[in-house]
Each structure stands twice: as C-alpha cells, then as structure tokens.
C-alpha cells in the first residue's frame, strides 16, 4: 500500500527519519551486532583477553543440560501462562458479551491489571504465598497442605505462572471481548432458531469466528511469557529453586550479569533473537492475511 500523492524533495524526509535511525543504530543495531559478535568469542576468566572460538559457545550450550532444561522450563511456563490467561480471558469475555447493559462497567473493572508492572505483580503474589506469613499459604497450612516454593520446584513454577497469567487476563479479555462484540448477532440468532443450544452455538459458530484473534493472542502471549515475565521471575524465585523456574531470558541475565559468563550469555541472546524472529514472522504473516479479509 502506497500513497499516490506526496510532497517533493528528498532532503527534508531524510532529515525527518534521521533521529529514529540514529537512535536505532546506537541502541539497537550496534548492541545487537555486539551480541552476535560476542557469541563467537570466549573471554578468559579475568576478562583480560578474549579468544575466537567460532560456534563453540553454541555447541556448548546445545549440549549443556542446564540450558536444555531451561528450554523445557520456558516451554512449560509459556504454554501454562498462555493457555490459562487466554481461557480465563475468553470465559470472562463470553460472559460480558451476554450482557445487554453493564458490560462497559465490567470492562473497566477487568482491564486495569494491565497497568501493573510484572515485578509488582510478583511482589503481591510473593507475599500471598510467603511460607511464613503469606495469607494463602497460611490457609493452605490450615488445610494441611505445606507450601514452600523456595524448596519445591513445582510450587515455584505454579506461583510464577499464576502471577504472570493474572496480569495477562485483562489483555486477553479485551481482545476476546472486542472480537465477540464484532460477531453479528443475526448469525447467532439464526443458529438459535435452528435449535442450537448456547454451548453448541459457542463451539460451532463463535469459536471459529474468533480463530484469527485467538491465533494472534497465542503468538503475542507466548512472546509476553518469553520476555516480559522477567520481573515476575526475578521477584518471586530468582530462577530457583535449583533453576526450576529459570526461563531463557532469565538465564541470559543470570549468566551474563551474575556469573559474568559473557560468551555464553551472548550466544543465548542470539538463540533468543532467532526465536523471536520466527515468532514475529509468524505474527506478520497473520497480520498480512487479516488485511485481505
């Protein structure tokens, strides 16, 4: 898509794009290039010199059981966050869509957690499940269930998923709600006249019509779970216990900044870069298709 009519001249437009190009060059292209470059080197432990090692950092990573475990953790975590927040978002959106009046009030009541930083969400849930003083863990103890996410990896995973999904419900609700509102009521009425029950209408009319939004949300939520949940992980578990909640982004951080293993951290960045690239291409493919609708 291009405009047919435009202004003449080439100096002004070049001047107009310069600020963005400079900022992108300094804070995007140069650091990204550095990440790729560093991934080919191995610094000595004292940081005095670096040695070119080619793809050794990658070879090492792909045979490192900790890194592969982190991959698996990331997949479990992302799938759990994506599915749970999308299901709850869809459920609430479907309910709000049934209302003739008042759905706007529920929208306001449901969307504000989007404004809460993942790190703050992490702090709130960390307190609720604090082993000694947390409200939820105290009641769980009353029921005879011992909660200690500092020792139990599964509990830690459950908690970071809960805290990450909680903040994400708003987003999914909003998109599903908009999608549901856009479905012409006449289609549903026609189905109802043909004798389709609510559940039947939902499964065979609504769900297929929502599929483009669902697909979009799947991609966006996976990207969210991969990258934006750093704050949740850092505040609640710091990747522990025993790396059971160390997702890939957290490992880039902890290997690079905490352990100062720069070659490996850079190689991990490059692998993440490829993953995001793939996800983005999928997303744009989808957007392109949507334009043709």
């Amino acid at each position: 898509m291009e405009k047919r009519v435009f202004f003449k001249g080439w100096k002004l437009p070049l001047l107009l794009v310069t600020p963005q190009l400079i900022i992108s060059a300094v804070f995007f292209f140069y650091p990204s290039g550095q990440a790729i470059w560093n991934s080919l080197f191995l610094p000595d432990p004292f940081g005095l010199k670096t040695e070119f090692v080619g793809l050794d950092n990658f070879r090492f990573l792909l045979s490192d059981s900790y890194y592969l475990a982190s991959f698996k953790t990331t997949i479990i975590f992302s799938v759990a966050v994506t599915i749970s927040s999308m299901l709850i978002g869809l459920y609430l959106a479907a309910l709000a869509d049934r209302l003739i009046k008042g759905s706007g009030v529920y929208q306001t009541l449901l969307i504000w957690p989007y404004a809460i930083a993942p790190a703050i969400a992490g702090v709130l849930w960390l307190f609720l499940f604090n082993g000694n003083i947390g409200l939820v863990s105290w009641y769980l103890k009353g029921l005879g269930y011992e909660w200690n996410h500092n020792l139990d990896g599964d509990q830690a995973m459950f908690l970071v998923v809960l805290a990450s999904a909680w903040g994400r419900i708003s987003y999914n609700f909003l998109f599903f709600f908009a999608g549901l509102q856009a479905i012409p009521k006449s289609i549903l009425e026609a189905a109802a006249i043909d004798g389709a029950s609510f559940w039947k209408r939902f499964m065979s009319v609504v769900i297929p019509l929502l599929s483009p939004i669902t697909f979009f949300l799947l991609v966006v939520n996976i990207v969210y779970a991969f990258f934006d949940t750093f704050g949740v992980i850092h505040t609640i578990t710091s990747g522990g216990p025993e790396q059971s909640t160390t997702i890939l982004v957290y490992k880039v951080f902890s290997d690079g900044f905490v352990s100062q293993d720069l070659g490996s951290s850079a190689a991990q960045s490059v692998i993440l870069l490829i993953l995001v690239g793939v996800l983005t291409v999928i997303q744009f493919k989808y957007i392109e298709r949507k334009v043709h609708y």
Partner: protein, 286 residues
C-alpha cells in the same frame, strides 16, 4: 442476547463478579497490608479489612523510604523514585512519539533515496525485545557515560518501531485529497504536518501515549542494570529491592504502601484514558 432467562442473567453476573474478585484480590490484600502495622503482618493471618495506619505508612514510605534497621529499607524517600519513574515514563512516551511521528510522516508522504532501506532498518527493530540485547546495550550506555542518568534510562527504550508503525498505518488511512488540497494551496510539508496531520491524529496520539507511558513506567530489568545510585532508582525496582532474600525481615507495610504507590499512576492513566487505551491496544495488535 438470544434467550432471555432470569437465572442465566444472574449466573452471568455471578461469573463476572467472581472474575473481578479474583482480579482484585491480590491488590486488595496489598491495600490492607499498607494500612496495618508490621506486627499485624508477621503474625498471620492478615486481617481482611483495612487497619488504622494508612497515613503513617504512606507518609513513612513517601518521605522517609521506610523505617531504619530493615535489610531492604532504601532510606531514599519513595517520592523521589516516583519522580524518577515519572520522568522516565514521560520521557519514553514523548520521545518515542516525536521520533515516530517524524519518521512515519517521511515514509508516508515523501519519496526519497534509501526510503525502502531506511524503512526496513526501522522495521527490524520490532523483532527484538530489549531483554535480548541487555548486556551490549548496557555497555553502550556505560561507554556514553549515561549510567545513572535520565538520558540513559530513556534513550535505549525509544529505539523501537512500534509507534512508527502505528502512525504509518494511521497516515495511510488519511484520504489523498487532504495532501492534494494542501499542496494546491501552496502548503509547505512541515506546515501540513503541524496544522493538519497532528490535529487529526489526536486520538491516535493519546492512545500511543497511554501504551508508551505504561511501557516506560513498568520497566524493570533496564533501570535495574543502568542505575546503581539509590537516588536514580525507579519505583518498580525499588519495591523489589525492599524485599531482601530472607524475605521475613522486609518492612511489609512500607513494601505495600510503595507497591500501591507504584501501581496508582498507571492505573489512573489506564482508567481515565480507557477509551484511547482500548482503541490503541486493539489497533496496534501489540
């Protein structure tokens, strides 16, 4: 809706209210926690109704940064960190809007050499979240001497093309007749930009402002790496640092009061500008 049944109607409300309660619960607990004393918290369970210490706790957090003697207490007044966050969030939102408006205007309304190349260079920045290139970006900021500065907090985070693409998409929907008419009247490009394009982009500007403000306010990893000076901390990272590793010794009323203060500005913005926010989010598709 299609059928009208009384019970179904109330079940719908009941389901939604359950959802709202679930969503509110952690924040309500934080609010209650910010109104009680440390003893009320460390001897569980926490009451479910607010206590009498609201003003003490907030004043303490805002102006003193919490009582002394707790491992996580920063002793930097929270009001200072709220200010840092506000500067960072406004800086990112406004900076991003300015550079994106200018470049989107150039891409849509001009033909110039290397236009495609420049477009793709900016397009690629969409692909890579900041978290992926943290270490090299940290080095760039350090080499430029921008650690512990507002510029260091703001500039790395405006290097992304989201807003550019939103503006570009919007400019594409503006009828060509507008430019034709403007050109016939002898209107210079920048005059067209300021007098026509910006006024008709107002709702989009507001929408992008809300999204970018939230993005800036809620940053965590970047400010954590780029600031070592306690006076430059942002509120989100400050709340995290108030909880030491052995988390029982945190001064919880201060933590909760600070957490509430950290949530309040973005929540106010999202609710007061709900219409723009919803529109912006749905149209941006990210």
């Amino acid at each position: 809706m299609v059928e009208k049944k009384k019970t179904a109607y109330w079940m719908t409300h009941l389901g939604l209210i359950c959802g709202v309660v679930l969503i509110f619960f952690p924040v309500w607990v934080a609010f209650v926690g910010s109104t009680v004393s440390q003893d009320d918290i460390i001897y569980p369970p926490l009451p479910l109704l607010p206590g009498p210490h609201l003003i003490d706790n907030y004043a303490n957090a805002l102006f003193r940064g919490g009582p002394e003697g707790y491992a996580g207490a920063s002793q930097v007044p929270v009001i200072r960190m709220l200010m840092n966050s506000a500067i960072m969030a406004f800086g990112i939102a406004i900076g991003k809007i300015i550079i994106s408006l200018l470049s989107a205007f150039a891409f849509v309304y001009f033909r110039f050499p290397f236009r495609k190349t420049a477009f793709w260079l900016i397009f690629i920045t969409l692909m890579l979240p900041v978290e992926v290139r943290i270490y090299p970006t940290y080095e760039v900021v350090a080499n430029l001497g921008l650690l512990n500065s507002y510029a260091g907090l703001i500039f790395p985070l405006i290097a992304s093309a989201t807003a550019t693409f939103l503006f570009r998409q919007f400019f594409m929907t503006i009828p060509d007749e507008m430019v034709e008419a403007a050109r016939m009247d002898g209107c210079k490009p920048m005059r067209f930009f300021f007098d026509i394009l910006i006024p008709i982009s107002k709702t989009n500007l507001a929408a992008i402002f809300v999204i970018m403000f939230l993005f800036g306010w809620n940053q965590f990893l970047y400010p954590m790496l780029l600031t070592t000076d306690p006076n430059m901390k942002t509120i989100v990272m400050a709340v995290d640092s108030m909880i030491p590793a052995g988390d029982d010794y945190a001064h919880w009323p201060t933590v909760f009061a600070s957490a509430m203060l950290a949530m309040l500005p973005p929540i106010i913005i999202i609710i007061s500008m709900q219409k723009f926010f919803v529109k912006g989010l749905l149209e941006s598709d990210k």
